[in-house]
Every structure is written in structure tokens, then in C-alpha cells.
Symmetry: C2
Subunit: 162 residues, 2 copies
DNA sequence: TCGTTATAGTTACATATGAAACCATTTGCA
DNA sequence: TGCAAATGGTTTCATATGTAACTATAACGA
């Protein structure tokens, strides 16, 4: 435990200089959190109610749209979600008939996942909406800023994740 | 690392080229979400266990460190949390003796909130840790990138929030 | 001054999420 | 082989979070 204020008790009311309070609104992690939540929420609002589809479920659908026949673990890797979250999202998606699940021939532990016809139908509506939102967001930046943002994100991103 | 399945040229099984799947790892909202979560988690890990302090509680403490005598609603505004979350965070903080709560003289609905001595003691340990993490993160960028990031965040940020 | 409406804050309920325990199958190796 | 350890996936339990309903007080208008 670091030493606390030994010298004099505080003047009763206001923070002493050494308290050095954090300015939340300039604090990078805080700003990232606000921005990310605002953006994700805006997109989710588009499809959440309309398709009764959660963010995690949408992410799973998005990777299955790109890669056929993944296992749940592979989906987890590609969505940066943990396996429990993936398991639950899949349970709902399979139940809703949006994903087909079967068992891997050579390894009965693994599942083999694919979008169903119904899943594709939803994907084909949601994907353009998501892209449109992204464009709206990027439209706030000029071309130069956009390319700096690319570069900055690449450097800040945890390496396993891209 | 086992080799992953490849995208595989569309085996005509699932129809039509126009499916245009989203590439999650290049999708801005997704990247922001990963980055934000990774960063927040790293910071939270520093104090979560050590002080039994949640992220929401820490945010409340941070604004109370800057502004004396706020009401719960004002805390909510400044933390971008909703009033229920603030109410719950305050319940725990008051219970733990980290925040003093009294009732406003002229308006008995409002509370008047301040960090207690114990609250300050924690604040004075956590704030430097948070700042250190922010510095670590920013250290991945050079000066020019840092100033672009500032500028870009200002433009992307929802206006009410800063 | 009374009654309506608005505001501060809490409570209740339903759902989401994370950690750990768990089951089934497969792998590694003595 | 045979059995311990690892892996894929699900279930359980404890918390966290969001929405709506609720209580108490204050503000406002006729």
C-alpha cells in the first residue's frame, strides 16, 4: 500500500492537487467504449427487432456466410466470441432454422455448420444494412482521415485478432 | 495451428454470387468493438479483483473525483450511463463506504454525492493505473498518429457525449 | 390551492453474459 | 492396447444489464 496523505487533512471540501482526477471524456479507453457502443447499437437497432436477431447471432451468421462448414470453435475464433456465447447463439440459430448443424464425419465431437436457405435470406437483408451504417459512419471523415484510421486501428488492434 | 478451411469457390450449392458476405475483420464497427473490449478489460483487470470494483463503479468514482456534490442524474450524464446503472453502482459504493450520500437541502429528491476518505484512497491508486494503461496503448502510435486519432475520434463521437 | 405533469431515484423482472463444471470423444504415449 | 490428458461443445450458476413500473418530491397551470 502506497503512503497516503500524511501531511495535512484536506481543506474539507475540494480535491487536493495530488488527487489528480481522471478526465473521463478525454480518456481514450472511455471514448472508445462510448463510440463502439453507440455504433454497434445503431446497427443492431436495424435488425434486432425486425429479425429477432442478437448481435452475437448476427456475427455468427456473418462468418458462416463467408466460410462453409466451420465448427463452433472455428466460429468462436473468427468472431472473437467465447465458446459459450457461440454455443448459445448457435442454439438459437439452429432452433430458428437459420443454421443447419450436423456432425463431422471423422470427429464426432465437432459440428459442421452452414447457413440454411432461411439464414441466407436474412443475411442478404442484414449485410447491406450493416454496410450502409458503416458508410454513414465513415462519411464523417474525409479520405485522408479514413486512411489514417485504418492504419491506426491496425497498430492498436490486438495481434491475434486480425 | 491446424490449417483452416478455405472460403472455397461457391460450389453452386448455395445460390448466387450476390450474397456478398461481410468481412467481419475489416468491418469498422466490429473492429471498434474488439478494440474497446480488449482495452477496457485490460484496465479493469488491474483493479477489478484488487479493489472489488466494477467498471461502472469506477466511472462513477472518477466523475465524483472531479466534481463534488453531484446528483445521481448528473453522474449519469457525465458517465454516459443510464440512471439505473448509476443507482446500482452508487448502492454498492455507499454500502462499501466509498461514497457519502446525503439529500439535497432544497430538493429532497436529489442526492448529494461525494467520495469519502476511503473512496479517495482507492481513487488515488486506480487513477494512475488507468493512466498508465492509456499511455501503454498510445505508445503503439507515433506522435502524428496520436494527433490524427484525437481528431478522428472528435469527428466520430456522438455530439452529446463530449 | 388543487390537481396534473415532470423529475430523481429505486425496485422488479426478464434476459444476457462469463466462469467453471460437466459430458463425450479423440489424441498421445507408456 | 489401455488410460491419462486434451478437445469440442453444452449446462449450470452467479452476476450484470436494460426496460418498465413504481415511490416520493417538486413544478406548473387553471
Amino acid at each position: 500500500m502506497p503512503a497516503k496523505r500524511q501531511p495535512a487533512p484536506p481543506p474539507a471540501e475540494h480535491p487536493l492537487p495530488e488527487h489528480a482526477p481522471l478526465e473521463l471524456e478525454r480518456f481514450l479507453p472511455y471514448r472508445l467504449s462510448i463510440l463502439s457502443n453507440t455504433v454497434s447499437q445503431a446497427i443492431a437497432d436495424d435488425y434486432q427487432r425486425r429479425f429477432d436477431l442478437g448481435v452475437t447471432e448476427w456475427r455468427v451468421m456473418a462468418v458462416l456466410a463467408r466460410f462453409d462448414g466451420l465448427s463452433a470453435r472455428e466460429v468462436a475464433e473468427r468472431t472473437a466470441m467465447d465458446k459459450v456465447a457461440v454455443s448459445r447463439a448457435l442454439a438459437r440459430l439452429v432452433e430458428a432454422g437459420r443454421v443447419d448443424r450436423s456432425t463431422h464425419d471423422d470427429d464426432k465431437r465437432r459440428s459442421v455448420l452452414n447457413l440454411s436457405e432461411a439464414g441466407w435470406a436474412i443475411h442478404d437483408q442484414v449485410a447491406p444494412m450493416a454496410r450502409a451504417r458503416e458508410r454513414e459512419l465513415l462519411a464523417k471523415l474525409d479520405a485522408e482521415e479514413q486512411s489514417w484510421l485504418e492504419r491506426i486501428l491496425d497498430k492498436l488492434m490486438p495481434p491475434e485478432r486480425h
